[in-house]
């Protein structure tokens, strides 16, 4: 266990997670809006925003899948120390963290018809979040909003199986944006 495993968490957990959650909630309630979070300094390669999301939402009850380069010892130890979340294969994950190309999106729980909430939330690390590119419509969006998504076809298919599906949180540096399954992507 290295020194950085123990550092990088919230200094004032109850207040910092409350502030972070409010931003995450606003992001999920208003798909495509880009918001800023702060407070975590997780080890490389993970971004500040992804670190904040994990500290705010994950604990021993939420198995997490680490994809690609994110499945590394420093990150496993950091998540274990700060949240206690078990690292698992995609089919048992409540959260997943990785880059778009590494996530292998077919294998995650998408919920059941009776319990569509039993689905994974994907934390997708991105290079930059910009309000351009794919256009989104649906709940939480007054008319239309733009966000640079990694692709469109997958999100259209994800929305087509509504109310089942995956929910996405895109992170880049200290910025984040969300895309729930309810958003219609064009």
């Amino acid at each position: 266990m290295e020194g950085h495993t123990l550092s990088g968490g919230f200094g004032d957990g109850p207040v910092q997670t409350a502030v972070a959650f409010r931003e995450i909630m606003e992001a999920m309630a208003r798909p495509g809006t880009i918001r800023a979070v702060e407070g975590a300094t997780p080890p490389a390669p993970i971004s500040v925003a992804a670190g904040v999301v994990i500290l705010t939402l994950c604990d021993a009850d939420t198995p997490i899948h680490l994809a690609g380069a994110y499945d590394c010892k420093p990150l496993r130890e950091w998540i274990a120390f700060h949240t206690g979340a078990p690292v698992v294969a995609p089919d048992g994950a409540a959260f997943a963290l990785g880059r778009w190309s590494d996530l292998a999106l077919d294998n995650y729980p998408i919920g059941t018809p009776e319990y569509p909430d039993r689905s994974a939330t994907m934390i997708v690390e991105s290079d930059r979040l910009k309000p351009e590119g794919a256009s989104l419509r649906g709940p939480g969006i007054k008319t239309e909003v733009a966000l640079n998504l990694p692709e469109r076809a997958f999100f259209q298919a994800n929305c087509a199986r509504y109310p089942l599906g995956l929910d996405f949180i895109f992170t880049s540096g200290a910025q984040m944006a969300a895309l729930p399954r309810s958003s219609k992507v064009r």
């Binding site: 957990g13 109850p14 207040v15 997670t17 409350a18 502030v19 959650f21 409010r22 995450i24 909630m25 606003e26 999920m28 309630a29 208003r30 798909p31 705010t56 939402l57 994950c58 604990d59 009850d61 939420t62 409540a94 059941t112 018809p113 009776e114 319990y115 569509p116 909430d117 689905s119 939330t121 649906g138 709940p139 939480g140 969006i141 007054k142 509504y162 109310p163 929910d167 729930p180 399954r181 309810s182």
Partner: protein, 276 residues
């Protein structure tokens, strides 16, 4: 120890509630099960709403609590004091100044804006519960989008009373998918469910959380020949004279004199201060 952790609930409970809120926002109108905790108040006093409020509050929030529109009733005052004490947040009676509003059975008259959060206290979250007592069955009905029974209920209203007699907790369909109980708000408030603020619904005893993101399409169920009507008592407010606000009928003296007055006390007080 004399101090509470921020907003009373322990961190693991808040994380669990927060995850449920996010799934609720991702699937508008769907009831997410959550492990409701015992709160220091009885069921029926807003234990669900209080848990949701505790999970969303931040220290800089300004909290307003209303009970049937009124800021000054026992339930509203005690919940406001609870969060003053356990979260240290500022409180207000002003709808515009509030960032989080916890409500029992009303939507404020003033339009809410982006950045505000409206938290409802919900007694029975399942709109089909009085038609089908089994949770297994109602879950199946939601999953199959089998809402015929609800239309039969509204039709029976019409055949018995000549009109849809449901006056509160009037069922709505969310984004063309889930039928949802908007909590026992008067049906006068149903058109306001389509708003700019985030709406969160918490049912403590029944252990359900559901949500409406801003600008979600919410349609009150009706028939082509019996369209939905947002009705209210056909009177002006006896205090401020408002024609367009929801009214309570109160007995104001020992002789049984009745008076209609705004149920939203902040709305009514502001109009009277404004000199109308």
């Amino acid at each position: 120890m004399t101090e509470y952790t921020f907003a009373y609930l322990d961190e693991q409970t808040k994380r669990m509630i927060r995850r449920a809120i996010l799934k609720g926002l991702a699937i508008p109108g769907y009831q997410v099960p959550f492990a409701s905790r015992e709160m220091p108040m009885p069921y029926g006093w807003g234990t669900g709403g209080v848990q949701v409020s505790a999970a969303v509050l931040v220290p800089c929030d300004v909290l307003k609590v209303i009970d049937q529109g009124a800021d000054d009733t026992t339930n509203a005052v005690s919940i406001r004091r609870f969060f003053e004490k356990t979260a240290g947040v500022a409180v207000t009676q002003d709808t515009q100044a509030a960032t989080v509003i916890q409500t029992r059975h009303r939507i404020p008259e003033a339009a809410l804006r982006e950045g505000q959060v409206l938290v409802y206290q919900v007694p029975i979250p399942e709109p089909l519960r009085f038609l089908e007592p089994s949770e297994v069955e109602t879950r199946k009905m939601h999953s199959l989008e089998d809402y015929g029974l609800m239309h039969v209920k509204l039709y029976e209203d019409i055949s018995r009373h000549g009109a849809i007699a449901t006056a509160y907790a009037y069922p709505v369909k969310v984004e063309g998918r889930y039928v949802m109980d908007p909590s026992p708000i008067p049906k006068f408030d149903n058109p306001k469910l389509d708003m700019a603020a985030i709406q969160l619904f918490g049912a403590g005893r029944e252990q359900r959380i559901y949500a409406l993101p801003p600008y979600t399409k919410v349609v009150s169920l009706d028939f082509d020949d019996f369209p939905f009507e947002a009705s209210k008592p056909d009177h002006p407010c006896g205090l401020c004279g408002a024609q367009d606000s929801y009214l309570d009928e109160l007995i104001v003296d020992d002789d049984g004199t009745r008076m209609f007055m705004c149920s939203d006390t902040d709305f009514c007080a502001k109009r009277r201060e404004g000199g109308s």
